[in-house]
Assembly symmetry: C2
Homo-oligomer: 465 residues x 2
């Protein structure tokens, strides 16, 4: 992670007490406190137990779970949990001087934030999978950890079992990340895959996802409206571009507006529709957006199907690099959390805690407004079937300086039953060449004033990742 210019958050204090800390530790086990014991927490306990011998060898000392904080002492837990370790009091983890490492898997902002801050202030290493918290307070938490010379690790926060955080941090250490193109929400990807493969409507595919436990019931909006993906993009941008961003700066749209017809037209033009989180480093600014996107069927991202996630990085020297896998689920996320636990435990045991964040610089960066981005566009207009309409649409785009690569008219459509009673509607669908979004929007404003338009225009951006 590199940025130009100064760094308002100092993540680079001099390590001074490391060798003392190691001498003090001797070969004592690393004592771990868990905050939360849901599905991920249960998976962490299981993996720590099953791999204890191997992890002790890798860390150089045994890893021991000392305390597990939960809300309900009576609830059923995994068999790997010794119930004697349970407590409802988080202070027994974050304030216990014998605990070296805190694993936060409770989620949410409150009280997770305060507990992590307290753990850091008391010199403990922290591992978390809390993307919401990191999206809101990541840079401040990292700076706090760096100042206190402890590690804050969060591989599980983005992309479940995908090693994207360590890839950005370590593998790209000597490269410059120019672009991030990511499928990071399994719910959206499942719904879009089913719509494409079975011709299902959004509503039908959502119900199916809910029945399978891939989408929240009754309110799936955190996923299908793109907010979850936006949180993950903020965390990725922090590492890839050294950017401190808040959610309001990320253009975020979800998948509710995609209709069956859009999948059919996309396919006809050689594309697949994916819900992407896109980040670009333009030098003087960055671009951050989350939205449905048409990508070529030959793209490697096009075959990332169902609940799978993938993050494609474009490095200046290394070129494209993709990591792919299960983006959610208790075990994949738990594997990432335990990998972090091993890393942090090893650093503590060898007296070099707090080194991972060294050299990081995270600061606010200008985010390019959506109107300034340049993209190709897929536009679908449901219009009255009468002569001259295609010409009026093409004309409006031409007047705005937007040139068209392909245009087709097809219909009548059966979607809009109210409209069909009047007169059959047809679809005019087109693909533009590269154009600035502001120009496209002004053309659409002109078309919106035409009486032949039956529904709001369907606009999706096109990427060639």
């Amino acid at each position: 992670m590199k940025t130009e210019g100064g760094s308002p958050l100092n993540l680079n204090p001099e390590p001074h007490a490391a060798s003392d800390r190691r001498r003090l530790r001797g070969g004592a086990p690393i004592q771990i406190g868990l905050l939360g014991c849901g599905t991920v927490g249960g998976g962490v306990l299981r993996l720590l137990a099953e791999n204890s011998g191997y992890l002790a060898e890798r860390a150089g000392v045994p890893l021991v779970v000392k305390r597990v904080v939960v809300r309900d002492l009576e609830k059923e837990r995994v068999s790997a949990l010794d119930r004697g370790l349970l407590s409802t009091n988080p202070a027994e983890v974050v304030d216990d001087p014998s605990i070296d490492l805190v694993v936060e898997v409770m989620g949410g902002e409150t009280p997770a934030r305060e507990l992590i801050e307290r753990a850091i202030d008391r010199g403990k290493g922290v591992v978390t999978a809390n993307k919401l918290l990191l999206a809101a307070h990541g840079p401040a938490l990292l700076a706090r950890a760096a100042a206190r010379q402890v590690d804050l690790a969060f591989e599980g926060a983005v992309g479940g079992g995908i090693p994207i955080i360590r890839t950005l941090r370590d593998a790209f250490a000597s490269d410059w990340v120019e672009r991030v193109t990511a499928i990071v929400n399994g719910t959206c990807n499942y719904i879009l895959t089913r719509m494409r493969d079975t011709g299902a409507s959004f509503d039908a595919a959502l119900r199916e996802a809910q029945d399978l436990g891939y989408a929240e019931k009754p309110d799936p909006s955190l996923d299908v409206d793109g907010h979850d993906a936006a949180h993950k993009l903020i965390v990725l941008a922090m590492l890839a571009f050294g950017a401190q961003v808040d959610a309001a700066q990320v253009h975020t749209s979800g998948i509710r507006t995609i209709e069956e017809a859009d999948h059919l037209y996309a396919d006809r033009f050689g594309y697949t529709i994916k819900h992407l989180a896109i980040g670009r480093d333009l030098g003087d600014a960055i671009e951050l957006r989350v939205h449905p996107t048409l990508i070529p069927k030959q793209s490697v991202l096009a075959n990332v199907s169902g609940v799978l996630n993938a993050v494609l990085l474009e490095g200046r020297a290394v070129g494209p690099s993709l990591v792919y896998g299960r983006g959610a689920g208790d075990l994949p996320t738990a594997v990432s959390v335990v990998s972090d636990v091993l890393d942090v435990a090893r650093s503590i045991a060898s007296g070099v805690a707090g080194m991972q964040g060294r050299g990081m610089s995270i600061k606010p960066r200008r985010v390019r407004p959506l109107s300034e981005i340049v993209s190709r566009y897929y536009l679908r207009f449901a219009v009255e079937d009468r002569p001259g309409v295609m010409g009026r649409i093409a004309g409006a785009l031409g007047d705005a300086g937007v040139s068209i690569e392909q245009i087709v008219q097809q219909g009548p459509t059966k979607r809009s039953s109210g409209a069909a009673a009047r007169e059959p509607a047809v679809d005019v669908v087109l693909i533009t060449h590269d154009a600035q979004e502001g120009l496209v929007r002004s053309a659409l404003d002109a078309v919106a004033r035409e009486e032949f338009l039956r529904e709001p225009v369907h606009l999706f951006r096109i990427e060639e990742p």
Copy 2:
């Protein structure tokens, strides 16, 4: 990396001198010696120079190139190289006590092996991208490094810029790798992509690859016959399965036998032909093979095109995980080498060198013979066009206990001009259900005795990665 049972190579000595070493070092820069300065070496020098400030921050001390050993002092070099550092004497790197870290980018087995051994013996960290050497002597070199408590890092050896080594080592630390399915030879992948997309013959696609510098001239056999992929599979198996294997144990076949017709039939059945390196951990044995393979067009590996590489790991807990990117080229490989340099330098600077290999166990494991593997098969028989032939082929397979999923007959083919003079040949092409390879081979032996067979049978295995 985990294996069951004992470990004949002891990679786990107690670290004892680490804090002493760190105290001795103080904040002194890490002195680097380069062995070799070809395209990768030049890229390494460039990245070290361009990122020197950032790398020093991350490592905690400056990284300084002290000596660059080359064969020809007069040859043109990258501008990042201070020619005063050049030497033709490798002893000035491996025997110089002030050099902390040796980067071996000369390639080949001799003298690289001896120089790396000497560097290890003198307590230096080593970074290499030498897959040939690692395939032949990886376990012994790792054991030597562990015994001397120094790091031996080799991210650049497999998959160029793809962070596959650290993914296996770190991200999968608490998981068990059950399967590795990899596209690791860019030359083969380029040729197969061109054959599929343009209908070119193997010879034409090979010439094109040679003209573009993607295949060696005049002898491309290291790549197209699969040996390069086998070397990489051996390195992957060392980390993924803790297996010490030699090249003779890896079934290796190349892509010369694939004809245009095979791409057409594969496509018709819903598959793409890829040259894959496949490893499986079956518990009591492992499976290691390199060969052309039919995979479903919907597989994420199917869209890994051109010179790109990808490694798909199947973890018991984490599920599928894929890393993908440029598998070769000076800069991608150099990025991996420099990431390793940073890792190793950081360990030296903080007095914890030699910890990365801790907990690794590498030992000989039983490799399942090819006759025992179970797979689905694509079989193409070029036969005389006469009644009963399809029945005879199906009968031979049935007699051997191999059941057929699909069978088609098509022709006449135009491929075999000599045969065409006699009588038009037709193709009988079939896909089997899962079958043991030994049974398939015995069926093919029976068919080989039939006089209707015009050419040797084309056999390709089918995988569903």
